[in-house]
């Protein structure tokens, strides 16, 4: 029982602490003379233009991409920071008023990123984030990738290798929410599972992706080693595979400016031996996830209200859950709305949920460790130029975990994030 509570706390902590670098790249704004609004529906969420640019390997494909074509004064380096005041309140609900487990309020540095990104030649792109830190804690090489674009002169085949983010309905590194809550269905595992595979996180591997002109139809297939597995990454001994396909179309009339539908799936192995034991010799079992999403953009093309519904089902092999008598199955997903009533101003909100369907451990109630999260925020970008930008963000979230507290009662976590984000 205790290790489950510890695990729940770990999940909550992880959700707060997950790094979110590579959100926006002012280096490109300087290189191409555009503002963030060109590529981002609302920074850091990409719009169609930004996604096509990224899918093209950070190229405009108009003869100005190569380093030799750019101004000598241009350096493909960027800096991001998120100084803020964070307030967190964690409560268990043994009694109606609840018991406070944690109450902290402090000024924090947030995520700071120094990265380099760009193109090497006509067909090669790279992204390296050698220095990133979360609240002063430095991480080494959170993201590094190299991409070969347009193999066989076709945009339908690009290969990216490195520690890269996966292709998903909503990217975690391009999330407007800064409290760290939400998109929990990506990383969730059935209660008791030893697998720490995070579908939404970076994994070391190779991605094959392709798209049509404008990236209205696209696919991505990744083969990777599951990050965080007890075995060394280099041994590639906990393989995983994931894929995502999307198609977008724009009705020419009416209140909808665009609709996108997509489907995704992942399969990730994990050793089932005792953690810390000889993992190399242990058997591997898989956790799987599959689902689909619908994006809808309402209103004007340039100032849309963007709604996303993503639903998925996850399954952890019973062997991943010590004492499990059957596979753990859960359903999850989220509904996200981003409204952009005028250009530098954004309002966003998200409802997240995970509902267990089959508990692997018969001692667990069906709704044990079910999760619900709400997040709302406003963001106003005071200045956005081709050089830099900074924005004020106020963001609140509440996440609830059924029987997640150490004493077995329900757990709730209020989080307030207020501060600025800047990028140069």
């Amino acid at each position: 029982m205790r290790h489950i509570a510890v695990l729940s706390l770990w999940i909550v902590t992880m959700m707060v602490a997950i790094p979110r670098p590579a959100a926006a790249v002012p280096a490109f704004a300087r290189k191409y003379g555009v503002r963030c609004t060109v590529c981002h529906e609302a920074w850091p969420v990409l719009n169609d233009f930004g996604r096509a640019f990224r899918d093209n390997g950070y190229r405009m494909n108009l003869g100005k991409d190569e380093p030799s074509m750019t101004d000598p004064a241009y350096w493909p380096i960027y800096v991001e920071g998120q100084p803020h005041f964070g307030f967190d309140l964690v409560k268990s609900h043994t009694s109606p008023t609840g018991t406070t487990l944690q109450r902290t309020g402090q000024f924090q540095a947030g995520v700071s990123v120094l990265g380099a990104i760009g193109t090497l030649g006509a067909h090669a792109s790279y992204l390296v984030i050698p220095v990133a830190s979360i609240n002063g804690l430095t991480l080494g090489f959170p993201t590094a990738e190299f991409r070969i674009n347009d193999l066989f002169d076709s945009s339908w085949l690009n290969v990216r290798a490195g520690n890269t983010e996966p292709d998903l309905p909503v990217s975690r590194v391009r999330d407007l929410d800064l409290t760290g809550v939400g998109l929990g269905a990506y990383s969730y595992h059935s209660p008791g599972s030893v697998s720490k595979f995070d579908m939404g996180g970076n994994n070391l591997g190779v991605e094959f992706m392709g798209h049509n002109r404008g990236s209205r139809s696209r696919y991505s297939v990744s083969v990777f080693n599951v990050t965080g597995s007890p075995e060394k990454n280099t041994k590639f001994s906990t393989p995983g595979v994931s894929g995502h396909v999307t198609h977008e179309f724009s009705p020419d009339q009416g209140p909808l400016s665009a609709i996108e539908v997509g489907g995704f799936a992942s399969y990730a192995s994990w050793p089932v031996g005792v953690p810390g034991g000889n993992a190399m010799t242990s058997e591997r079992k898989a956790s799987t996830k599959y689902g689909g999403e619908v994006h809808a953009w309402f209103g004007p093309d340039a100032l849309p209200v963007h709604a996303v519904v993503t639903l998925l089902q996850g399954r952890d092999d019973k062997a991943l859950i010590p004492g499990g008598v059957r596979d753990g199955v859960f359903n999850g997903g989220f509904l996200e709305v981003i409204a952009n009533p005028r250009l530098p101003f954004v309002v966003f909100g998200r409802f997240d949920f995970v509902r267990n369907q089959d508990q692997a451990l018969p001692t667990h109630a069906r709704d044990f460790n079910n999760q619900t999260a709400y997040s709302v925020g406003v963001k106003h970008t005071f200045e956005y130029t081709t050089r830099a930008e900074y924005a004020l963000v106020v963001n609140y979230s509440l996440s609830q975990t059924k029987q997640g507290a150490p004493d077995g009662s329900n757990l709730s976590h209020h989080s307030l994030w207020t501060g600025i984000t800047f990028a140069f």
Binding site: Y32, G33, V34, R35, T37, V38, D48, F49, R51, A52, N56, M60, N61, L62, G63, K64, E66, D71, G121, A122, H123, D150, D153, S154, S155, R213, G214, S215, R216, H247, F249, S250, P251, D252, Q253, S257, A258, P300, D301, A302, L303, L343, T385, T386
Partner: protein, 257 residues
């Protein structure tokens, strides 16, 4: 069995293709300048400026300078020299971008967004209200690209004295090259025809249009009064033959007609 499986697929395909042909039919629809203003402020303003004067914040750092929309002077047109372009000409430029310049391709945007922003761009010059609609150039179908056509094109190049600006080898180094300015007085160089990728589009017809209608606002005149249509295609073939293939000169994002 197989056909039963493919049936829903083909229906889905039909649905997709019919949805994607919708914008083609929609070409005639007028854009909404109000919505276009939002599109403009999001994508265009850093170069073309809030007032459409081509003096946005990035303008000082880029050559050629962004288009000043207030005179109704546009380079890439199918209409005679001095005329306003057609809406479809502006759509062509916005959709494909202008190669070798800071003007990107806005192909990822929806057809409607481009139509709306064109309607907004048309509010910057009173000429869009006062000028009569210009008749577009009629382009005859392209004849075969033969060595004879290329050779004939060379004589056209010589007879029309293209070399005066573009140089004997087409490298943009003719005797008049150094002194030329655009209509705003900014120095401008004749295009280097050996570069392998034209600015105004990848097709032969795009090149045909350039010298048969001229590039408004630049020293490049219209030769429609002195080049016959068959000579024009020969000249296209000759200019295409000047291109030196360099790594990276091509692009996989081939323009669709």
């Amino acid at each position: 069995m197989f056909s039963e499986l493919t049936k829903p697929l083909s229906i889905g395909w039909l649905l997709c293709t019919s949805l994607s042909t919708l914008p083609v039919l929609a070409q005639e629809r007028p854009g909404n300048p109000g919505r276009g203003a939002d599109v403009y402020r999001r994508y265009c303003i850093t170069c073309h400026g809030e007032r459409g004067d081509g003096a946005g914040e990035f303008a000082p750092y880029t050559v050629p300078k962004p288009r000043d929309f207030r005179q109704g002077t546009f380079k890439w047109r199918s209409t005679p020299s001095g005329s306003l372009p057609l809406v479809s000409d502006l759509e062509h430029t916005i959709r494909n971008g202008v190669y070798w310049t800071a003007m990107p391709s806005f192909f990822p945007l929806s057809e409607r967004a481009r139509r709306d922003v064109i309607a907004y761009i048309q509010t910057f010059s009173p000429r869009w209200k006062s000028d009569e609609a210009a008749m577009p150039l009629q382009i005859a179908p392209e004849p075969a690209h033969t060595p004879e056509s290329v050779a004939k094109g060379r004589t056209v190049y010589e007879k029309q004295n293209c070399a005066q600006c573009h140089g004997d080898g087409g490298a943009g180094d003719g005797p008049a090259a150094k002194t030329e300015t655009d209509d705003w007085g900014n120095p401008i160089l004749p295009f280097d025809l050996t570069k392998g990728h034209m600015k105004g589009g990848t097709t032969g017809a795009d090149l045909y249009r350039v010298f048969m209608t001229g590039l408004n606002g630049t020293p490049m005149p219209s030769f429609s009064e002195s080049i016959a249509p068959d000579e024009a295609w020969d000249l296209v073939h000759y200019i295409q033959s000047l291109a030196v293939t360099r790594p990276g000169a091509g692009s996989v994002q081939k323009e669709k007609p």
